[in-house]
């Protein structure tokens, strides 16, 4: 442990209201850093990175934990772990992409601690649940002593690890709508190995071919290919209205190359990420409809 543990403080609130007060009050001196499962924060502390000295331990706040069915979707409490998500029958049935993402985060031990809000607030572009939340047009619920507000997931990140959250706000929950009727859901993580792996490319997609034979819904979200998790708007536009064909696939792939801005880093390189993002997009489309490979 390269951080000086003896200098750290942890405040443990009784309930959410207490937590919000402590957080608010801390702004006058040194801000309390929210601590959920700690699976990101403790890694930083071990490496001696500066993540703060005072922590607000959310782990005991029951009101922030659990999965509820909401109208047309589910609401996940901030502290909902990926184990709970992975095992939840409704999530498995109606949000298979989310269940799939939860099942490949770290490994079981990490999934027992890692929370959905922690994944969101950590804001890594490699966060595996984020493309799922983005493609499903999830809504993040934030709260402070001043009140609550809903933040569309697509507007949550200003830039690399930069959230629009105010310093006195906590994420309390996130609502994930079910995919529109008859949309084909897809999730694929391309990581460094089969478990305990950080994504090199991660993609979540929803696509639907209308009865008339043209694509009337296309959502493609990717992680690890830009400073933030992003919607591939150009690729989506290339698909919308097109009839499934190899030509449409090629057009979507070409457009995707304009959407993404991958870099060389410790885990992979830009050329690989480009090629794989394109290949996985194609995999998504041909898994959805074989006609995407024809003609």
């Amino acid at each position: 442990m390269r951080s000086a543990l003896s200098t750290l403080e942890v405040a443990t609130p009784r309930d959410l209201a207490h937590a919000l007060r402590l957080l608010h009050d801390s702004l006058a001196t040194e801000r309390l850093v929210p601590l959920a499962g700690g699976t990101d924060l403790l890694v930083y502390l071990n490496a001696g990175q500066q993540v703060g000295r005072r922590f607000l331990n959310l782990w005991g706040l029951r009101e922030l934990r659990g999965i509820r069915e909401a109208r047309g979707g589910v609401t996940l409490g901030a502290l909902t772990t990926f184990t709970m998500i992975r095992e939840h029958p409704l999530v498995r049935r109606c949000l298979p992409a989310l269940a799939a993402a939860a099942a490949v985060i770290g490994a079981w031990q990490v999934q027992n601690r890692a929370t959905i809000a922690g994944n969101i607030a950590n804001g890594s572009p490699a966060g595996d649940s984020l493309p799922v939340l983005l493609a499903h047009e999830a809504v993040v619920h934030a709260r402070s002593m001043r009140g609550g507000r809903d933040i569309p997931f697509g507007t949550l990140y200003r830039g690399y690890r930069d959230l629009v959250l105010e310093p006195d706000e906590l994420i309390t929950a996130v609502t994930v709508p079910f995919p529109p009727a008859r949309a084909f859901p897809f999730f694929r993580k391309v990581g460094t190995r089969r478990a305990q792996s950080i994504s090199k490319v991660v993609l979540c997609g929803l696509v639907r071919v209308a009865r008339g034979g043209e694509v009337d819904l296309a959502r493609v979200a990717l992680g690890s290919v830009a400073p933030v998790t992003l919607r591939a708007r150009r690729a989506e536009r290339a698909l919308l209205g097109a009839r499934p064909s190899a030509t449409a696939t090629a057009a979507a792939r070409a457009a995707l190359m304009e959407d993404i801005a991958p870099i060389d880093d410790i885990r992979s390189d830009a050329a690989y990420r480009r090629a794989v993002a394109g290949n996985v997009l194609e995999q998504f489309l041909r898994a959805a409809d074989a006609r995407f490979t024809m003609g």
Binding site: A100, P185, V276
Partner: protein, 795 residues
């Protein structure tokens, strides 16, 4: 764990032995499982200071000035630099060129410069950041190519630490006799040992003016020697004791001399006990790795597959100091032809200096690199001839009476063919090769036609399941639109047991057996338990000779104050060489006690009765044996000719893979391996070595890559230095083959390193079979494979 043991040539009279050949419980297993075993960081030492190391952040430079931040509270902090070293500023290995602490010149990133210690580890950590080293950076040499090009001169007049030439026959004649000449260039990267327990040592000054150093290590007498040099102390003033050690794989062969020297220096200066335990980041960044290698092979072969010429050039990257590189190079060169008969051979091997942390010992010690090249080349030859890779190996693999490139006549215990045939049969190699090829062709055809099984209807049916596969996939159909290909590849390897050449003669190892006060036999050796089961195997062999159960045998701690120098725990030598000495000690002890009792010993109770009477009437009993070279073995170091090793073990492996053409990810579906090791003293431990070595070899082949940034190791965390997890481990089918060796105890040869030699080339062969693309550089990362697939070959 199941191990199939097959005796190729069982002796006619089968006497079921009491302990040898039986998988008895591991001696220290219970303590480790229950947490009673204390590793170095678990040891509480009253008054201990915690040591930390200030390191270079540049790969090459000159130290201008060292400033202790005047704003920092230095009270209670002990600071030591090279001027505090009482003896020679050297971490003595083969040579004494590596300083314990850099004095003026920095030759690699993360080179130690200053040491600090404080009783509060957090203060020690803070003190590291308060030491400012001003360095004038110099242009570094970071690659083999730059070293050969003499981009800067780091060593001698050519940057070559050591050069070896092995020659047999007439190369030109061999190529003239060839129908086909095949060339290839191969490259292997660094590999980190990644033992579970990081390096750590505790040092203290003793009342008699000496040093006591305890810690996680493989070779107590190496540390002992290094401390004598650095502190100018006589042998009897230095005592080194191994603590319970959580793995080594060679990574604790030479580095403990460094960290032990550092802890000792801080203890010397402060008069207090000092503990230094690295965290993972420091351990990966600063300690030794497997040598990278660049290898070129040119081989001549007849149309029927018979090898006629083998011309090979090997260059390894030694890093900044000599350390163990000359012997790593030697083992690499001696195994470079693979286990194949060839009348005309030239092997030219060099190890060069670079400004990277010194590379050191790692399971296989140079042989996995050169055999990677040799085996990949055999596959390339098979391809060039249109010959089955199994048939090519059958034609050339060693048999009794064959002669190695150094002129060693293989007289006995040559299991190459047995290993090969059993592997091919158990893996169903020939049938799978055909089946995969057909299935791959059909898959390619289906993809071209746009008929992907399971696709065709869009929309999510209620109840669609999230896939459990680790890479995750939610989508329709079992393959989710994936484009997958399967392949199977084969490799054959050999590994010499014991020190190379005249090494064992020079070591002149001594082991002993004595009697404890309560009349039990006690093993006295400097060899170390590092997870491999050495102590259990020692106890079994001694027990076998004494006619007592293994649990009756005591094992003395590996403590230079108490045990003779039986040599290092390296080179697959512990069971064969040291076990052999202990077997002789046990026979000697039995003879003495039976002479004394004037009758044969019956069992453990009887042994104890007789032993106690002996102790009472005759005093202590200690039997010692020193290594004796088998008379028929000879080695000429100057000419590099003769019997490079007493004997070799042999391994074959078949690996099945599945390649994802969209991502370049390779999944190992299974590995089947037969390994001929003379005699399995403990079949389960042997199978454990083989399974572990196979997985380590698969990691070497596919995942493990040290990445560099500005001359420093960039990925020094477990999250980015990627080793296989249990999810990445395929089923591994192990078959042990036994062809006893007459000079090994109970016929045993070495098994520790052998399994590391074969997986990587088999993986490359399997990928080539699956995709038509041959990648000549490991690890075959998805990045490398996808680029190769794009260049051509994807079917």
């Amino acid at each position: 764990m199941t191990a199939r043991v097959a005796s190729a040539r069982r002796p006619r009279t089968i006497r079921r032995p009491a302990s040898v050949g039986v998988s008895v419980p591991k001696i220290e297993g219970r303590d480790k499982v229950t947490g009673r075993a204390l590793y170095v960081d678990d040891l509480a030492v009253p008054g201990v200071l915690h040591g930390r190391t200030v390191r270079s952040i540049v790969p090459r430079g000159r130290i201008r000035r060292i400033v202790l931040d005047p704003g920092f509270d230095w009270s209670g902090v002990v600071v030591a630099d090279h001027r505090d070293i009482p003896g020679k500023n050297a971490c003595a290995h083969i040579e004494e060129d590596q300083p314990l602490l850099a004095a003026d010149e920095i030759r690699h990133a993360d080179e130690p410069i200053v040491l600090v210690a404080h009783q509060d580890p957090e203060r020690a950590e803070a003190a590291v950041r308060a030491v400012h080293v001003e360095v004038e950076p110099l242009e570094p040499v970071l690659t083999i190519e730059d070293a050969l090009a003499k981009k800067a001169l780091l060593y001698g007049d050519d940057n070559v630490f050591k050069e070896i030439r092995i020659a047999r026959g007439e190369l030109a004649a061999g190529f003239a006799a060839a129908d086909v000449v095949v060339e290839g260039t191969y490259r292997c990267g660094h590999q980190e040992q990644l033992y579970i327990e990081n390096n750590g040592m505790i040092a203290e000054r003793t009342a008699d003016g000496g040093l006591l150093v305890r810690g996680s290590l493989q070779c107590p007498y190496y540390v002992h020697h290094a401390l004598m040099v650095a502190f100018g102390l006589p042998a009897d003033k230095v005592r080194v004791v191994q603590t319970v050690t959580g793995g080594g794989f060679g990574g604790k062969e030479d580095y403990p001399s460094m960290i032990g020297g550092h802890a000792a220096l801080l203890a010397w200066k402060s008069g207090r006990p000092v503990k230094i335990v690295y965290d993972r980041l420091e351990d990966i960044a600063a300690t030794t790795k497997r040598h990278p290698a660049l290898m070129r092979v040119r081989a001549g072969v007849k149309r029927d597959g018979t090898l006629t010429a083998w011309d090979m050039d090997i260059v390894m990257d030694g890093g900044a100091y000599v350390t163990l590189s000359p012997v790593v190079l030697s083992r690499g060169a001696l195994h470079a032809g693979g286990p194949y008969r060839c009348p005309n051979v030239a092997i030219h091997a060099r190890v060069v200096a670079t400004n990277t942390p010194p590379n050191g010992a790692f399971r296989g010690f140079g042989a996995p690199q050169t055999q990677f090249a040799a085996e990949c080349h055999m596959d390339r030859i098979a391809g060039a001839l249109g010959m089955d890779p199994l048939a090519l190996r059958r034609r050339n693999a060693y048999r009794i009476g064959d002669v190695t490139p150094t002129g060693h006549v293989l007289r006995e215990s040559v299991g190459a063919h047995e290993a090969l045939e059993r592997t091919a049969k158990r893996a169903d190699f020939a049938a799978k090769r055909r089946r995969f090829a057909r299935a791959n062709a059909a898959a390619a055809e289906a993809e071209r036609a746009g008929r992907r099984a399971g696709a065709g209807v869009s929309g999510l049916a209620p109840g669609a399941r999230a896939r459990g596969a680790s890479s995750g996939g939610a989508g329709r159909g079992s393959s989710g639109g994936r484009r997958l290909r399967r392949g199977i590849g084969l490799a054959l390897g050999w590994h010499g047991a014991g020190f190379t050449g005249s090494g064992e003669v020079r070591l002149a190892s001594t082991a002993a057996l004595d009697l404890t006060a309560d009349g039990r036999p006690r093993v006295l050796s400097a060899n170390t338990e590092i997870g491999q089961g050495a102590l259990t195997v020692f106890a079994q062999m001694v027990a076998e000779r004494l006619g007592v159960p293994p649990a009756f045998v005591e094992i003395n701690a590996s403590d230079t104050g108490q045990v003779p120098n039986s040599g290092p725990t390296v080179a697959s030598r512990t069971t064969m060489v040291v076990g052999g000495l202990l077997e002789q000690c046990a026979s000697g002890m039995r003879e003495r006690l039976e002479l004394f009792a004037e009758r044969p010993l019956a069992d453990a109770a009887d042994f104890r009765r007789v032993a106690r009477r002996f102790l009472r009437e005759r005093g202590p009993l200690r039997i010692e044996r020193r290594y004796q070279k088998p008379p028929e073995i000879s080695w000429d170091d100057a000419a590099y000719r003769g019997d490079a090793y007493g004997v070799y073990s042999y391994a074959a492996i078949a690996v099945e893979v599945e390649v994802d053409l969209d991502t370049g990810e390779v999944t190992v579906l299974g590995a089947t391996t037969a390994q001929e090791i003379g005699r399995a003293i403990h079949p389960v431990l042997c199978a454990g070595q083989i399974e572990g070595g196979t997985l380590q070899g698969l990691g070497y082949a596919l995942l493990e890559e040290v990445r560099w940034k500005d001359g420093r190791i960039w990925n020094h965390q477990l999250t980015n230095y990627i080793i296989p997890t249990s999810m990445d481990a395929p089923p591994i089918h192990v078959e042990i083959v036994e062809i006893p060796y007459s000079h090994g105890p109970f016929g045993a040869k070495g098994v520790g390193e052998l399994p590391m030699d074969v997986p990587a080339p088999a993986v490359v062969a399997a990928i080539a079979h699956a995709t038509g693309v041959r990648v000549d550089e490991i690890p075959v990362t998805p990045e490398r494979l996808l680029a190769a697939l794009a260049r051509g070959g994807a079917r």
